[in-house]
Symmetry: C2
Subunit: 176 residues, 2 copies
Protein backbone atom coordinates (compact mmCIF):
# COMPACT_ATOMS: atom_id res chain seq x y z
CA UNK A 1 0.00 0.00 0.00
CA UNK A 2 2.76 2.37 1.05
CA UNK A 3 4.73 1.37 -2.01
CA UNK A 4 1.80 2.16 -4.31
CA UNK A 5 1.24 5.52 -2.65
CA UNK A 6 4.92 6.31 -3.12
CA UNK A 7 4.75 5.28 -6.74
CA UNK A 8 1.69 7.45 -7.36
CA UNK A 9 3.33 10.43 -5.70
CA UNK A 10 6.39 9.76 -7.84
CA UNK A 11 4.39 9.64 -11.08
CA UNK A 12 2.39 12.75 -10.20
CA UNK A 13 5.59 14.54 -9.27
CA UNK A 14 7.37 13.68 -12.49
CA UNK A 15 4.30 14.71 -14.51
CA UNK A 16 4.09 18.04 -12.70
CA UNK A 17 7.81 18.70 -13.18
CA UNK A 18 7.69 17.85 -16.86
CA UNK A 19 4.67 20.13 -17.35
CA UNK A 20 6.35 22.94 -15.46
CA UNK A 21 9.69 22.56 -17.24
CA UNK A 22 7.98 22.63 -20.59
CA UNK A 23 5.99 25.71 -19.60
CA UNK A 24 8.82 27.87 -18.34
CA UNK A 25 12.51 27.35 -17.84
CA UNK A 26 12.60 30.86 -16.46
CA UNK A 27 9.98 33.36 -15.41
CA UNK A 28 10.02 36.79 -17.04
CA UNK A 29 8.07 40.01 -16.94
CA UNK A 30 4.83 40.18 -15.00
CA UNK A 31 3.49 42.33 -12.20
CA UNK A 32 5.68 44.09 -9.64
CA UNK A 33 5.57 42.84 -6.05
CA UNK A 34 3.73 45.13 -3.58
CA UNK A 35 5.50 47.56 -1.19
CA UNK A 36 8.94 47.24 -2.78
CA UNK A 37 7.87 47.42 -6.43
CA UNK A 38 10.26 44.71 -7.54
CA UNK A 39 9.72 42.78 -10.79
CA UNK A 40 11.24 39.45 -11.71
CA UNK A 41 14.84 40.01 -12.84
CA UNK A 42 15.45 38.77 -16.39
CA UNK A 43 18.16 36.11 -16.57
CA UNK A 44 18.12 35.24 -12.86
CA UNK A 45 18.12 31.49 -13.64
CA UNK A 46 21.55 31.97 -15.27
CA UNK A 47 23.08 33.63 -12.21
CA UNK A 48 25.92 32.01 -10.30
CA UNK A 49 25.36 29.82 -7.28
CA UNK A 50 25.76 31.24 -3.78
CA UNK A 51 24.53 28.24 -1.82
CA UNK A 52 21.87 25.58 -1.33
CA UNK A 53 19.68 24.64 1.63
CA UNK A 54 16.95 22.37 2.89
CA UNK A 55 14.15 23.73 5.07
CA UNK A 56 12.15 21.18 7.04
CA UNK A 57 8.84 21.85 8.78
CA UNK A 58 6.01 23.70 7.05
CA UNK A 59 8.26 24.81 4.21
CA UNK A 60 9.77 21.37 3.49
CA UNK A 61 11.66 22.54 0.44
CA UNK A 62 15.01 22.36 -1.30
CA UNK A 63 16.41 25.70 -2.36
CA UNK A 64 19.15 27.28 -4.41
CA UNK A 65 20.39 30.78 -3.73
CA UNK A 66 21.82 32.56 -6.78
CA UNK A 67 23.40 35.99 -7.08
CA UNK A 68 23.92 38.60 -9.77
CA UNK A 69 27.53 39.59 -10.48
CA UNK A 70 27.52 42.31 -7.81
CA UNK A 71 26.34 39.80 -5.22
CA UNK A 72 28.82 37.09 -6.18
CA UNK A 73 31.75 39.54 -6.15
CA UNK A 74 30.78 40.82 -2.69
CA UNK A 75 30.28 37.30 -1.32
CA UNK A 76 33.63 36.06 -2.60
CA UNK A 77 35.42 39.11 -1.23
CA UNK A 78 33.63 38.66 2.11
CA UNK A 79 32.43 42.24 1.75
CA UNK A 80 29.77 43.54 4.17
CA UNK A 81 27.46 45.40 3.89
CA UNK A 82 26.53 44.32 0.38
CA UNK A 83 26.92 47.17 -2.13
CA UNK A 84 23.94 48.79 -3.86
CA UNK A 85 23.06 46.78 -6.94
CA UNK A 86 23.32 43.44 -5.14
CA UNK A 87 20.48 41.10 -6.06
CA UNK A 88 20.04 37.70 -4.45
CA UNK A 89 17.56 35.23 -5.93
CA UNK A 90 16.18 32.29 -3.99
CA UNK A 91 14.46 29.47 -5.88
CA UNK A 92 12.60 26.83 -3.85
CA UNK A 93 11.22 23.47 -4.94
CA UNK A 94 9.21 21.01 -2.92
CA UNK A 95 11.29 18.28 -1.31
CA UNK A 96 10.52 14.90 -2.84
CA UNK A 97 12.20 11.47 -2.76
CA UNK A 98 13.78 10.35 -6.02
CA UNK A 99 12.50 6.90 -6.94
CA UNK A 100 15.18 6.49 -9.60
CA UNK A 101 18.06 7.36 -7.30
CA UNK A 102 16.70 5.35 -4.40
CA UNK A 103 16.46 2.25 -6.56
CA UNK A 104 20.21 2.48 -7.11
CA UNK A 105 21.06 3.20 -3.48
CA UNK A 106 18.69 0.44 -2.32
CA UNK A 107 17.03 2.75 0.21
CA UNK A 108 15.02 5.99 0.41
CA UNK A 109 17.93 8.37 0.83
CA UNK A 110 17.85 10.69 -2.16
CA UNK A 111 15.77 13.88 -2.12
CA UNK A 112 15.40 16.12 -5.13
CA UNK A 113 13.40 19.13 -6.35
CA UNK A 114 9.70 18.49 -6.94
CA UNK A 115 6.93 20.81 -8.15
CA UNK A 116 7.35 24.49 -7.14
CA UNK A 117 5.61 25.67 -3.95
CA UNK A 118 3.75 29.00 -3.63
CA UNK A 119 6.99 30.63 -2.41
CA UNK A 120 8.86 29.49 -5.54
CA UNK A 121 10.91 32.59 -6.26
CA UNK A 122 12.21 35.39 -4.02
CA UNK A 123 14.52 38.34 -4.55
CA UNK A 124 16.45 40.58 -2.17
CA UNK A 125 17.55 43.83 -3.81
CA UNK A 126 20.05 46.19 -2.20
CA UNK A 127 19.35 49.90 -2.60
CA UNK A 128 20.37 51.69 0.57
CA UNK A 129 18.45 54.87 -0.27
CA UNK A 130 15.26 53.47 -1.77
CA UNK A 131 14.86 50.81 0.91
CA UNK A 132 16.40 52.72 3.85
CA UNK A 133 13.56 51.79 6.21
CA UNK A 134 14.11 48.04 5.68
CA UNK A 135 17.85 47.78 6.18
CA UNK A 136 18.58 48.87 2.61
CA UNK A 137 16.86 45.82 1.16
CA UNK A 138 13.80 45.40 -0.99
CA UNK A 139 12.02 42.03 -0.94
CA UNK A 140 9.81 40.24 -3.44
CA UNK A 141 8.14 36.85 -3.72
CA UNK A 142 6.57 35.25 -6.79
CA UNK A 143 4.84 31.94 -7.41
CA UNK A 144 5.59 29.59 -10.31
CA UNK A 145 3.33 31.60 -12.61
CA UNK A 146 5.22 34.80 -11.83
CA UNK A 147 2.39 36.18 -9.70
CA UNK A 148 3.66 38.24 -6.72
CA UNK A 149 2.56 37.38 -3.18
CA UNK A 150 0.23 39.87 -1.47
CA UNK A 151 1.11 42.93 0.63
CA UNK A 152 0.56 41.19 3.98
CA UNK A 153 3.12 38.56 3.05
CA UNK A 154 5.66 41.16 1.95
CA UNK A 155 5.30 42.92 5.32
CA UNK A 156 6.74 39.82 6.99
CA UNK A 157 10.01 39.83 4.99
CA UNK A 158 12.05 42.42 6.84
CA UNK A 159 11.00 41.47 10.41
CA UNK A 160 12.10 37.91 9.65
CA UNK A 161 15.45 39.07 8.23
CA UNK A 162 16.13 41.56 11.04
CA UNK A 163 17.86 39.02 13.34
CA UNK A 164 20.51 38.59 10.63
CA UNK A 165 21.61 42.22 11.02
CA UNK A 166 25.25 41.20 11.64
CA UNK A 167 25.41 39.77 8.10
CA UNK A 168 23.57 42.72 6.54
CA UNK A 169 20.16 41.00 6.98
CA UNK A 170 21.18 38.12 4.73
CA UNK A 171 20.95 34.56 6.08
CA UNK A 172 22.79 32.75 3.31
CA UNK A 173 26.55 32.30 3.46
CA UNK A 174 28.62 31.52 0.38
CA UNK A 175 29.21 27.78 -0.11
CA UNK A 176 32.73 27.29 -1.52
Amino acid sequence: MKRIAFLLVGIATVAAIVAFTAAASELTGGEAAPIFGIKIFPGYRDWKLISVAHEEGNLNDLRAILGNDVAIKAYRAGKLPFPDGTVIARIAWTYVPSQENNKVFGRAQSFVPGPPPEWYLQFMVKDSKKYASTGGWGFAQFNKDGRPANEAMHKTCFPCHEPAKASDFVFTHYAP
Copy 2:
Protein backbone atom coordinates in the same frame (compact mmCIF):
# COMPACT_ATOMS: atom_id res chain seq x y z
CA MET B 1 24.41 19.64 27.63
CA LYS B 2 22.78 19.05 24.24
CA ARG B 3 22.68 22.81 23.70
CA ILE B 4 26.41 23.12 24.43
CA ALA B 5 27.23 20.24 22.10
CA PHE B 6 25.16 21.93 19.38
CA LEU B 7 26.91 25.21 20.00
CA LEU B 8 30.34 23.59 19.79
CA VAL B 9 29.44 21.81 16.57
CA GLY B 10 28.17 25.15 15.29
CA ILE B 11 31.37 26.98 16.17
CA ALA B 12 33.58 24.23 14.75
CA THR B 13 31.50 24.19 11.57
CA VAL B 14 31.68 27.93 11.07
CA ALA B 15 35.42 27.90 11.75
CA ALA B 16 35.96 25.11 9.23
CA ILE B 17 33.84 26.86 6.60
CA VAL B 18 35.62 30.18 7.10
CA ALA B 19 39.01 28.46 6.83
CA PHE B 20 37.95 26.62 3.69
CA THR B 21 36.39 29.68 2.06
CA ALA B 22 39.54 31.68 2.70
CA ALA B 23 41.70 28.89 1.30
CA ALA B 24 39.87 28.34 -1.97
CA SER B 25 36.71 29.72 -3.48
CA GLU B 26 37.37 27.39 -6.40
CA LEU B 27 39.78 24.53 -6.98
CA THR B 28 42.10 24.72 -9.97
CA GLY B 29 44.86 22.68 -11.58
CA GLY B 30 46.20 19.60 -9.81
CA GLU B 31 46.51 15.94 -10.69
CA ALA B 32 44.26 14.13 -13.19
CA ALA B 33 41.85 11.53 -11.83
CA PRO B 34 42.80 7.88 -12.56
CA ILE B 35 41.26 5.79 -15.38
CA PHE B 36 39.52 8.72 -17.11
CA GLY B 37 42.39 11.24 -16.94
CA ILE B 38 40.11 14.14 -16.07
CA LYS B 39 41.45 17.28 -14.38
CA ILE B 40 39.43 19.88 -12.50
CA PHE B 41 37.71 22.16 -15.02
CA PRO B 42 38.69 25.83 -14.57
CA GLY B 43 35.71 28.05 -13.85
CA TYR B 44 33.33 25.23 -12.84
CA ARG B 45 32.15 27.21 -9.78
CA ASP B 46 30.78 29.87 -12.16
CA TRP B 47 28.73 27.39 -14.18
CA LYS B 48 24.95 27.58 -14.25
CA LEU B 49 22.74 25.59 -11.91
CA ILE B 50 21.15 22.35 -13.08
CA SER B 51 19.67 21.25 -9.76
CA VAL B 52 20.20 20.64 -6.05
CA ALA B 53 19.73 17.57 -3.86
CA HIS B 54 20.04 16.13 -0.40
CA GLU B 55 21.43 12.66 0.17
CA GLU B 56 20.69 11.05 3.51
CA GLY B 57 22.42 7.95 4.89
CA ASN B 58 26.19 7.52 4.78
CA LEU B 59 26.59 10.46 2.43
CA ASN B 60 24.45 12.92 4.42
CA ASP B 61 25.25 15.87 2.20
CA LEU B 62 23.71 18.82 0.40
CA ARG B 63 24.72 19.11 -3.24
CA ALA B 64 24.55 21.44 -6.19
CA ILE B 65 24.78 20.18 -9.75
CA LEU B 66 26.19 22.71 -12.22
CA GLY B 67 26.69 22.44 -15.96
CA ASN B 68 28.90 23.98 -18.60
CA ASP B 69 27.12 25.77 -21.46
CA VAL B 70 26.83 22.60 -23.56
CA ALA B 71 25.19 20.80 -20.63
CA ILE B 72 22.76 23.62 -19.81
CA LYS B 73 21.69 24.00 -23.43
CA ALA B 74 21.03 20.26 -23.74
CA TYR B 75 19.13 20.12 -20.45
CA ARG B 76 16.90 23.08 -21.34
CA ALA B 77 16.17 21.62 -24.76
CA GLY B 78 15.42 18.24 -23.18
CA LYS B 79 18.02 16.76 -25.52
CA LEU B 80 19.16 13.15 -24.98
CA PRO B 81 21.76 11.74 -25.29
CA PHE B 82 23.90 14.65 -24.13
CA PRO B 83 26.23 15.90 -26.87
CA ASP B 84 30.00 15.51 -26.72
CA GLY B 85 31.48 18.39 -24.77
CA THR B 86 28.87 18.18 -22.02
CA VAL B 87 30.40 18.54 -18.57
CA ILE B 88 28.38 18.21 -15.37
CA ALA B 89 29.93 19.26 -12.05
CA ARG B 90 28.60 18.06 -8.71
CA ILE B 91 29.66 19.89 -5.54
CA ALA B 92 28.75 18.32 -2.18
CA TRP B 93 28.90 19.82 1.29
CA THR B 94 28.20 18.14 4.60
CA TYR B 95 24.64 18.66 5.82
CA VAL B 96 24.60 20.79 8.97
CA PRO B 97 21.87 22.63 10.91
CA SER B 98 22.04 26.42 10.73
CA GLN B 99 22.02 27.84 14.27
CA GLU B 100 21.35 31.35 12.94
CA ASN B 101 18.39 30.36 10.81
CA ASN B 102 16.91 28.06 13.44
CA LYS B 103 16.96 30.86 15.99
CA VAL B 104 14.64 32.83 13.71
CA PHE B 105 12.36 29.92 12.90
CA GLY B 106 12.24 28.90 16.57
CA ARG B 107 13.02 25.29 15.73
CA ALA B 108 15.76 23.12 14.16
CA GLN B 109 14.47 23.17 10.59
CA SER B 110 17.15 24.83 8.50
CA PHE B 111 19.99 22.78 6.99
CA VAL B 112 22.87 24.36 5.12
CA PRO B 113 26.26 23.45 3.63
CA GLY B 114 28.98 22.59 6.15
CA PRO B 115 32.62 21.58 5.64
CA PRO B 116 33.33 19.65 2.43
CA PRO B 117 33.33 15.82 2.60
CA GLU B 118 35.93 13.60 0.87
CA TRP B 119 33.63 13.39 -2.19
CA TYR B 120 33.52 17.20 -2.47
CA LEU B 121 33.76 17.59 -6.23
CA GLN B 122 32.78 15.30 -9.13
CA PHE B 123 32.68 15.70 -12.89
CA MET B 124 30.95 13.77 -15.66
CA VAL B 125 32.44 14.46 -19.08
CA LYS B 126 30.77 13.37 -22.30
CA ASP B 127 33.08 12.10 -25.05
CA SER B 128 31.37 9.26 -26.88
CA LYS B 129 34.57 8.02 -28.53
CA LYS B 130 37.09 8.41 -25.72
CA TYR B 131 34.77 6.93 -23.10
CA ALA B 132 32.88 4.47 -25.34
CA SER B 133 33.22 1.62 -22.83
CA THR B 134 31.52 3.59 -20.04
CA GLY B 135 28.45 4.89 -21.85
CA GLY B 136 30.34 7.79 -23.41
CA TRP B 137 31.07 9.34 -20.03
CA GLY B 138 34.27 9.95 -18.13
CA PHE B 139 34.07 10.34 -14.36
CA ALA B 140 36.26 12.10 -11.81
CA GLN B 141 36.16 12.80 -8.10
CA PHE B 142 38.30 15.25 -6.11
CA ASN B 143 38.48 16.18 -2.44
CA LYS B 144 38.51 19.74 -1.09
CA ASP B 145 42.26 19.99 -1.68
CA GLY B 146 41.85 19.02 -5.33
CA ARG B 147 43.29 15.55 -4.78
CA PRO B 148 41.63 12.90 -7.01
CA ALA B 149 40.11 9.77 -5.45
CA ASN B 150 41.90 6.48 -6.12
CA GLU B 151 41.44 4.03 -8.99
CA ALA B 152 39.23 1.62 -7.02
CA MET B 153 36.77 4.42 -6.30
CA HIS B 154 36.69 5.50 -9.95
CA LYS B 155 35.86 1.93 -10.97
CA THR B 156 32.57 2.26 -9.07
CA CYS B 157 31.33 5.33 -11.02
CA PHE B 158 29.95 3.74 -14.15
CA PRO B 159 28.34 0.64 -12.54
CA CYS B 160 26.45 2.99 -10.24
CA HIS B 161 25.31 5.21 -13.14
CA GLU B 162 24.35 2.28 -15.40
CA PRO B 163 20.76 1.99 -14.06
CA ALA B 164 20.16 5.54 -15.34
CA LYS B 165 20.70 4.41 -18.95
CA ALA B 166 17.32 5.81 -20.04
CA SER B 167 18.51 9.32 -19.19
CA ASP B 168 21.96 8.79 -20.76
CA PHE B 169 23.43 7.59 -17.42
CA VAL B 170 22.71 10.92 -15.73
CA PHE B 171 20.61 10.92 -12.54
CA THR B 172 20.04 14.66 -12.22
CA HIS B 173 17.06 16.29 -13.89
CA TYR B 174 16.94 20.03 -14.60
CA ALA B 175 15.17 22.00 -11.85
CA PRO B 176 13.22 24.85 -13.47
